[in-house]
Symmetry: D2
Subunit: 445 residues, 4 copies
């Protein structure tokens, strides 16, 4: 790294990229990035150039010696990279739309990281990630893979189990957001609190909250459930409201995604209504993206536009750049990331990915122990973890039956028959992105 850090960003044409660029610009003093390689595929070429040019203008405005490279050649980008960040979407938002719409036809939640949609996003993404890992072994064996691509937990699980790459971290802005929310509720600075997290990606709980060393979890939950209070939530999950008694008995702050599991019927009703009125989330996002790229095209724009913040990935840049900087600088601070369990959560397989507090060192994240999962959440977390393992296996093997079992055991799916029907319809819909399931034309399904 003598001549500065080289970053390779797979899916560099994403609308999120300005977040990342801004993050690197802000941290240049402690994180001397010299090259950022934005990689994308042929279909994303146009977006890559729009967002890449904005990135160049941002760097220029900041007057920093960061080179922005735009390329469709992944190998060139990976060569000697120090950090590889991934933020791509196989099949673009059109695929997400299918993940959302098809399940709804079966009265099943349609979502991109949970349920049948999450399964299919995993099936499409995992082979690509494993392919990137193989390239990394060859081209940049010492680099860190920072995965932001959803479903981040399932993807990290797959890399841990099916790749030789050891230097991988799965990242989500959720825990950061929850901590911000809790600090807001308490009216204090984030540094004054310590939040012990436990769980999996998109299935994480703020188990215990300390303010100046004192357990204030109960106090936070009372404030959260008091009438008229906004709960901690990710913006792209609508605020449906928890049963106050339930949340207070749980005595933990669940990430908003847990509403899919604890409020299934309400969330489904909401989704059906929204799909009819304004389209699914993918459709909404497509519109937002179009607007963003219109903005990005403006040659006079040389900072991250404010509108990006409404896109949903709040704190994306914070999470990614903080992680990279802590690894680079051996900061040994605490961040909440997806990594190999190794005993951090006692009721989860030691080789599985979990999302827990870690000390971030130059040789990677080291999880802090959290002990046993509280009984209240243990079963669900364990169930989703086995689902993720089955899903990763199906993605790697391309085995129809494994995918069928994964689909059937998902708690959002209501029967083996619906599982089979959705599986068949989604396989057909995503055929172009699931070559592993269609090895010999027309035979497998």
């Amino acid at each position: 790294m003598q001549r500065g850090i080289k970053i390779a960003t797979i899916g560099g044409g994403s609308s999120y990229t300005p977040e990342l660029i801004e993050g690197f610009i802000k941290r240049f003093d402690e994180l001397p990035v010299r090259e950022i390689w934005l990689v994308d595929i042929e279909e994303g070429k146009e977006k890559l150039h729009i967002v890449g040019n904005l990135a160049k203008r941002m760097v220029k405005k900041a007057n920093l010696p960061i080179e922005i490279h735009l390329t469709l050649n992944r190998e060139e980008a990976l060569k000697n990279a120090d950090f590889v960040t991934t933020q791509f979407r196989v099949g673009q938002l059109e695929a997400r739309e299918k993940d959302e719409k098809i399940p709804l036809k079966y009265q099943t939640i349609g979502q991109e990281t949970n349920g049948p949609g999450g399964l299919f996003k995993g099936l499409r993404t995992i082979p690509v990630i494993l392919d990137i890992c193989k390239d990394m072994e060859r081209l940049c064996p010492d680099a860190w893979l920072i995965n932001f691509t959803n479903p981040s937990g399932m993807v990290t699980e797959a890399v841990l189990r099916y790749s030789k790459i050891k230097k991988v971290v799965g990242l989500c802005n959720g825990p950061y957001g929850i901590q911000r929310g809790i600090a807001d509720i308490l009216g204090v600075d984030m540094k004054e609190i310590y939040v012990e997290f436990t769980g999996l990606n998109h299935m994480i709980f703020a188990k215990t909250i300390y303010l100046h060393g004192k357990d204030v979890t109960e106090e936070v939950l009372e404030k959260m459930t008091a009438p008229g209070t906004d709960t901690v939530s990710l913006k792209n999950i609508q605020d449906l409201g928890w049963e106050p008694e339930f949340l207070r008995t749980l005595n933990m702050v669940p990430i908003g995604y847990l509403r899919y599991y604890y409020q299934t019927s309400k969330m489904l009703a909401e989704q059906l209504l929204a799909a009819e009125k304004e389209g699914t989330r993918a459709q909404v996002v497509q519109k937002v993206e179009r607007e963003l790229f219109e903005l990005y095209k403006n040659d006079n724009l040389d900072i991250k536009p404010k509108q990006l913040e409404q896109r949903g990935g709040a704190f994306y840049s914070e999470a990614a750049c903080n992680l990279i900087s802590s690894i680079y600088n051996d900061k040994r601070d605490i961040q909440t990331v997806n990594t190999k369990n190794n005993g951090a959560i006692l009721d989860i397989d030691r080789d599985s990915a979990v999302e827990v507090n870690c000390v971030i060192t130059k040789h990677g994240p080291i999880p802090l122990v959290t002990g046993e999962l509280p009984l209240e959440i243990k079963g669900l977390v364990q169930q989703i973890k086995t689902f993720e393992q089955m899903a990763a296996k199906a993605a790697v093997t391309g085995d129809y039956n494994t995918a069928l079992v994964a689909m059937t055991i998902n708690p959002l799916v209501s029967s083996d028959t619906e599982a089979k029907q959705m599986l068949d319809e989604l396989l057909e819909a995503h055929k172009a992105y699931l070559p592993q399931f269609f090895k010999t034309e027309g035979v497998n399904v």
Copy 2:
């Protein structure tokens, strides 16, 4: 036991009692029962006398020196008993009807051992069982408690965790029935096969099937899923048919109750239809029972009437009497019962109740190891186990919030709001049998 074995049967007025009496009569040579005390409560007095008199006629016909005692005094029955069997139903079939009907109003499966209904049957039953345990400590500390009362797994869990009684076995006729079914499918005698079970009560799987030492699981599943074949099932669960690919990929034979989890939407639709046409299962059973008791009243009847077999508890007598005889005779044969895990299933807490193959010795059942749960079923089994633990805790503490969490985390319940509504309605409906939740009039809920 010098003067012969003393049996105390709590809930002796049950229509099943003739099954048990027949079992003891058939095994008298190896199991010299001298006294059977049928105990019931005031409300069951009439039934107790009808069925008790039939029992007396059966014994007389068999010409055996077995004394049948009928009593409403539980202490007298327990005094120096060798085996205590429990087969009572708190709140009779009227309560079961509520457990079935109320959830249906919320588009939720209504059933007596699963979902909200199972939870409430547990809440009503556990305090009574723990009370019996306390009596046993005093009156027959060396006796074995053979629990047949459902939900048998949850009840055994509660006894293991909250009672001083160590000599407890939870019993279900399900595994015996599955083995019979498998032997039938293979066209062999039950003794020729070995079936390795794993799981929990009403959540059990025949994991591996051996015929003369050879693994024939795949063969059995192919036969089971071939068109036109009857699957192994308990009679009171209708045959809805599994997706053949799902079952074959699972490569295990699930107990029929698992349809509630793997075929939720189908089962619910079926229940709603049946409730409209012929009433819930409780209503059907009530009718069957009325007919049975009419038969039992007949002074000329001195054998178990054939009609009893249609009542649903096939093999009930086999399971109970085989177990008692193996304990009494130190047979060291293998039976599938509910007992403390202790490592038999590696992914379940060592102190929890599991349903696995055990060697039955005079000092109790010793589980055989089954290793890890297959990934395909691990999550669901773990989830139900944590539900059972929460439910047992709620039953013992009478804590509203604990019951709310138990209800919400049950996989058959679709949201926290519906959980709260069902909880409130069921608490009110079963108020008379849930004193622990209503300690101070009108305050708790």
Copy 3:
């Protein structure tokens, strides 16, 4: 097996063979053995013929259609065998003598299954066993490997971890002998008691003893430690006497081999004295063997001579033939054997070999759970298990450093320096039988 069972006995020229032959003769009704192939190597040819001819006379006298085949061709013997039993000794008793004598020079216990001697017996034996396993894969893939060769626990560990053979059982007559001893102490028949064993081969404890279902462990230990009482012991370990308080507090019956660990200084003193007076155990046994083979040569001898019983392997025939018969007949009775742990002992790796009570089925032994090791013995058992794992690894890899660590961590070895010295001297002494450590002449050590 239509034409009857084929047995292949590796090390068939052993003086123990008449034990085995007698066992098969006695059980012919339930265990229809048709062919016994006694295999040995060139160096054992003479003994093979002497003992083989005795075997033939024994079978003839019993008037049974069992064919005895003598061969130096292992492949011929293994071809289509149903059971392969192993009872060989790499390097004969001369090697044992070195295992015993060399450690004594370093004031360290010299013994063939424990300490430095046990390590070296393992290093010599494991490659041969793994070679047999490879032959079995090819020549008799459905056969059971019944290993009697010491150190049986370490050998079973190696087969479980480094071979593809799944059908392996490690066998020791120790647990059978302890049970016999306990029954004697209690003055009852063996069938009246149930002994729960836990531990490893030659490191096993009778944890709880039941008589007619009642725990009588304390009573047995009081009788064992009462003045003037003989303790349960294997004949070839001298009775040194335990501290009564220690044994009673342990509240378990340890196998005699545990004296090496709990009475190290006394055992060493005893061995040093014996070595001076009568020679080491190997030397004593060599003399006994010479006398036995003189007897065997007698053409008029056609039964197992009584003198064999003093050889030390009491119950050898019982243990081996009972096991084979229970597998063959799917008896599902309980025997104590070495097999994969799989949760039977919670504090030992699930993939390691342990010696515990198992149900013996046609598809193999299934361990019964024993829960956690009692604190009193946990540490030692865990330590020996890791020693066995290191030793097996050293045997397979032939890595000098791994062997050095194994030697140093053995609790009978008093320092890293003595470990290195003994290792070097024993490697040199056994060079002919340790090719894996001398791959490139003179380089490795």
Copy 4:
């Protein structure tokens, strides 16, 4: 803590106290200590005043508003304390001398934290610590107990299992010293390396060493074992030299105390020689202490004298003050302390004390996961942990038989008979400090 921090130091008359005082003085800016209460017992009154007056002079010289209080009244000192540090020695150095000398009579290592001596130091210390814990519950329930009293691991184990105090940390300067030594070997600053520790107090291993994120463990071990290099060691353990191959194969840096286990015979010979020539360590230390207190008496001395550094507790002040400051300031840095395992080491009971890297927060230390113990060290670490558990149990119950088992299973004790003899002699020798074993005069032993 508004008016500043209150420290209570039990065993305040110790010769180490100036270390502690110096540490507080140096850190006053970040750690505003206002009151230090030095507590001792009647027998230590003189020393307390000598060292206490030196402390006063040191504070005065530093011109800081720290009050030094000297007292024999423990309650007064504990009242509202923020931190309680313990550094006392029950029975003074005379008791240590017995712990060292009596085992030597039995050809057994005599040492104050290992073997029979360590056991007896534990038996004397644990009841006193538990008594302090009871006082703390009443007088300063929010205070942290920082235990420096040896055997620190066993003492922490006892507090975790037998006290209601949750805020306890066991501390040892060993890991700090190892890190310093490693940094020296590498010629870098301590902050540039990261050392992953695993194990127990006085049984700890530097498992992996990172320099700027790169694993350099092998390099460190090669340097350590190169001819002429000083190994990392605590000063009070003589440098006997490891077998280079052993250490390099281990591929970890063991704390010097591990020589007692891996070099038992050499260490014993060394001790026997030293005892004859210069006396045991206690005798040497007594002499050093006498000289130190002579220095302390000097009214002109107002700084920590250099000679104290030779006393053996190098880095004592660093370890203690760093810990207290990190708790007080919620620093979240990494220190290696004794705390509840909770999954940090997978092969050790989750409720036991382990010595591992922890993040130090205001609500206490949180262990970082270390995964499974390497096979090479697993057995010994597990064995010592069970010894510690048995020892703690014996200390609390005063049960002779439990103490006998603890003594016998210690790996440094060579037989049950010697165990009993040493136990009896040490019990008699320490009778005055072991009231729990002599409850009814003359009955128990």
